[in-house]
Subunit: 465 residues, 3 copies
Amino acid sequence: MVLHPDRLFPADPATRRVARQLFAAVGDLPITSPHGHTDPRWWGENPAFANPAELLVIPDHYVVRMLISQGVPFEALGIGEGAETDPRAIWRCFAAHYHLFQGTPSRLWLDHALSHVFGLDTRLAPDNADAAYDRIADCLARPEFRPRALYDRFGIETIATTDSALDDLHWHRMVRDSDWTGQVLPTYRPDGVVDPETPGFAAALDRLGEITGCDTATWQGYLDAHRQRRAFFRDMGATATDHGHPTPRTADLPPSEAGALFDRIRTGRAGPEDAELFRAQMLTEMARMSVDDGLVMQLHPGSFRNHSAAVLSRYGRDRGFDIPQPVSFTAALKPLLDAVGMDARLRLILFTLDETTYSRELAPLAGAWPSLRLGPPWWFHDSVEGIRRFRQQATETAGFFNTVGFNDDTRALCSIPARHDLSRRADCAFLAELVVTHRLDETEAHGLARLLARDLAREGYRLDG
Amino acid sequence: MVLHPDRLFPADPATRRVARQLFAAVGDLPITSPHGHTDPRWWGENPAFANPAELLVIPDHYVVRMLISQGVPFEALGIGEGAETDPRAIWRCFAAHYHLFQGTPSRLWLDHALSHVFGLDTRLAPDNADAAYDRIADCLARPEFRPRALYDRFGIETIATTDSALDDLHWHRMVRDSDWTGQVLPTYRPDGVVDPETPGFAAALDRLGEITGCDTATWQGYLDAHRQRRAFFRDMGATATDHGHPTPRTADLPPSEAGALFDRIRTGRAGPEDAELFRAQMLTEMARMSVDDGLVMQLHPGSFRNHSAAVLSRYGRDRGFDIPQPVSFTAALKPLLDAVGMDARLRLILFTLDETTYSRELAPLAGAWPSLRLGPPWWFHDSVEGIRRFRQQATETAGFFNTVGFNDDTRALCSIPARHDLSRRADCAFLAELVVTHRLDETEAHGLARLLARDLAREGYRLDG
Amino acid sequence: MVLHPDRLFPADPATRRVARQLFAAVGDLPITSPHGHTDPRWWGENPAFANPAELLVIPDHYVVRMLISQGVPFEALGIGEGAETDPRAIWRCFAAHYHLFQGTPSRLWLDHALSHVFGLDTRLAPDNADAAYDRIADCLARPEFRPRALYDRFGIETIATTDSALDDLHWHRMVRDSDWTGQVLPTYRPDGVVDPETPGFAAALDRLGEITGCDTATWQGYLDAHRQRRAFFRDMGATATDHGHPTPRTADLPPSEAGALFDRIRTGRAGPEDAELFRAQMLTEMARMSVDDGLVMQLHPGSFRNHSAAVLSRYGRDRGFDIPQPVSFTAALKPLLDAVGMDARLRLILFTLDETTYSRELAPLAGAWPSLRLGPPWWFHDSVEGIRRFRQQATETAGFFNTVGFNDDTRALCSIPARHDLSRRADCAFLAELVVTHRLDETEAHGLARLLARDLAREGYRLDG
């Protein structure tokens, strides 16, 4: 049996019993996915997926990096010049290395997807690779394996995508104009027009000006352009913005200094510190706009993107070579918070790749500032042990109500039920431990299980208005 | 049942049995509270507490910050201009938000206080808020709920307060002059005359000169004034000093440089780094004085105090807006330790808000330097999970004997039994785990349980001479 | 019973059963010890150990520091001028303080050695100190307690020592020339000729030139000398190099700058940053040589050596006063990795004393770069809790196959079986937890237990060619 019904529940029998009961009531709740990276085209156009390798291997940076780490060349995975083009060969390579995932969340997600989505009842292995390939390929040819059908089958009620500030959101419009009832919301991610170190930044600002009719050669025009784009995203259903920054640094310069900084950047006279300072200032500007328009703000800091120059130049971005760095929020967030942090109209959800910040900084911050909430464990920490550490390290100071439920944060559609299943089980396991050690009543735990599985996500992202 | 007799014991039945036995022998030991912030007036004057809100809500920064974090205004909690003045209304607001504390130590402490101190046998909730208020208010009017009676009833044998270097300790004198047998000791906390960034620092140094008759315009006179005050505190029963610094940095400048630094600060010519350097130098000076007079030295570093400028200016200090920052002790403490760290007459107890230092720095330091001991988990980490992490991360390198038992560190009188109960249970749970995994014999665990519950605190703070 | 057969297995009965079964199959596997500090003379000359104190107390920095931390003078342990010279007196002092080790890995190792190696069936205590001393002393006089006999009896199949780049490896030659079948391999540790801050660095470079016939006054001659020495070590059986650096910083300067840097250092004109930059550059040079000659590279960064100036000057190095500091690998390793990190001929094994890097940096790095592997928990973290934290924090991102089994890393011969026993038990406990929570099948766990106990060490260090 690939998926044991008691998987991820605590070993102790009494605790397991409680976890099982808690999970029984929340395991099948609808899925709210308020932050992720599914392709809007899927939802707009509803295409068939091409083949098992293109669905499950090539675009999954968790899978790719693990195989690379053990000496598999990118080319064998269909990536790069002269790469393998036969999806079955790529799939066999994946199956031959499937043991590498023992003990990882990728294994749990993949096992779940293969079993739950495609009905494979033995674990992937070299000797069943072809049969699995054929089975999945057959499925993908059928209408019930197209994206919208999977959305419905997975019990998704709301999903958010993450979109460039310059995006015209035509796939989202296509969803709206269709008779399909799925709720697909865009998210305003302005990094490309906020981070001066993005390749093509100047052109992106020109484009931002064209789209909005604002003069993005001036600081005020540039801010107005953001306001317009945010309003457009909000009209298209967005309830949130998202900001991926190297650090959580914020700044709140006097307007004249901020304007002068913008001018230096816009005219190519930026000094070495200016890019970081501008990103810092823009977080505060975005927070001010959130106070006005109510969009929930998300901050995902601390990733050293594209750690390998060679991998970036040969194989591109998002290949599993983004490595976390130490971060500290306490001093970094103070300028933004002193500007607008006591205003409950602002909601700023903080994420981290540096788990040391859970108990040291994030829980104390979210346990005091009314504008702050804690996002769920992110990326490498979206895992059984990662979720346990988060709950153990954040709950005692921040409580449960300063957290916002689960994000799957994925571009891998078939992993969505697996990830929510995993997080719900992990949270029920944590709650069961609190019950059995008499830190919570069982009724309280039932209430919290539901909040963590669904309701806090809806409330945290203002999905119900 | 609000307080389950097995609360906080491990889930595994065999481990729980051992924990229960260990706790049975130490749960009722007298309470030694060698570091905390109870109001000396309570002990000197023994007043009645005004009402439930002023006892349990308004002054508790853990409670206040959690409610603020979820959008309750300070004014609803009786804090700030135009605030609510009806204590019952404040209490109802607190009760209406009591669910926010699920999973936090505040909930465990408050449940314990309401049940254990005031005999309430159902958990606080909106629908019993008034009844609870009435019951507590009735109690507070009775002599057996005055501070000294609670001290006796709680089984406290020694409690230390934390007092300004300029304090005349008249409340302590009042205790001494009374026929009450409680042992209330002052602690020398000189931050206000050591940290040049304290508001009113210059005036405080003048006052220090007046009190002592020393010329605090000179470096030597200033040091002499400290020596005098320390002697006075020692005469009044103090066995310890306490130092709350932004960082653990220490320095050991040549006397002429230290003198010149003091002159720059005293005459308003301090450079931007001088305040931090002066605090660093003063830690070493205090350590040298501890070698001479035997006062145990405590260092509490790493809090970014008053993180919100608005909260500080409108509502004052200690409102729950102190946020930890990363710290490192290894290089920071070396100057002090090279000066006097091998001298066993020095005892320096280290605390941290940055748990990463437990295994990386604090346990290796305390496991080598004869002058160093580790304080218990502090503030946000004074919790079930926090205590477990401390024991798991510090014990293997520092052992048990380089730790100093428990500190409740509280200004909330009624939480004292709860906090000691919690720490004793958490320590017994940890020891039980060692027994059941055959890392300790059960007899050894019994000995250690007693040390952790009481004896190491008395020895560590030199309370028995 | 000092050594319980179920020691270190999980408390939960079902999990314990699985752990027991896993351990039954790997507990007695031969010991591969690919990194450590045993004295090569032991293996070459096979001398008798002098007495219990010189075997088990004086050279063990874990033991010494713990006694020092509780006020025992170095002299009472036979260290320093005018020190105690009677080994029995030293032993008695050790026995009198044996309770200090409760809860530490030293206690587990010592209990194991006393019981397993010397057949003592009660735990060391003041009242059996003399009897234990006599028993051990008797043993040490017998041939079966000489180093080679212990190697055989312990079931060691391969052991590596750690040797200066200038060493002539004559003890290793003596082993080779003997008819003893033990496999003792040297390891190339060039710190003394790589770190300009080593006392006697210039003379060491001269000596390196003499030994190799290379002109170590020039950058190219200096690099050639390394190549020669590495080839010599390889001829003598080495499969690895080892690098103990204050930080993991690396650099990849253009050759002309690297040469100029070397010239500044060689001619005594080095600036304040040059030593760190040179160490950083040399890590990349060593990595390049590893690409060529296949020696596995080990990096042990982050120890603040000789934290007490007084202890260093009076009692020397390796007395337990080496204290970890925060480290970060992400930015630090990028220059080396961009130079040769995608080349699978390079194998670089990373160690850390800063556990925060496990989940934040090391697992993501090793889970992507094909050249990187993770060493086992090092030094203070080579312990039950340390191993658990490592597995819990690294496995989900790096998997098992990017780790290299266990290192005992010890200079304490009699602790070798104890340390491998402990790590095998701790790993089986971790695997059992994965089995019982349905994250692994039991057959998979059996395969992994064997890999973690032995096979990954052999593969990771390229011991089988």
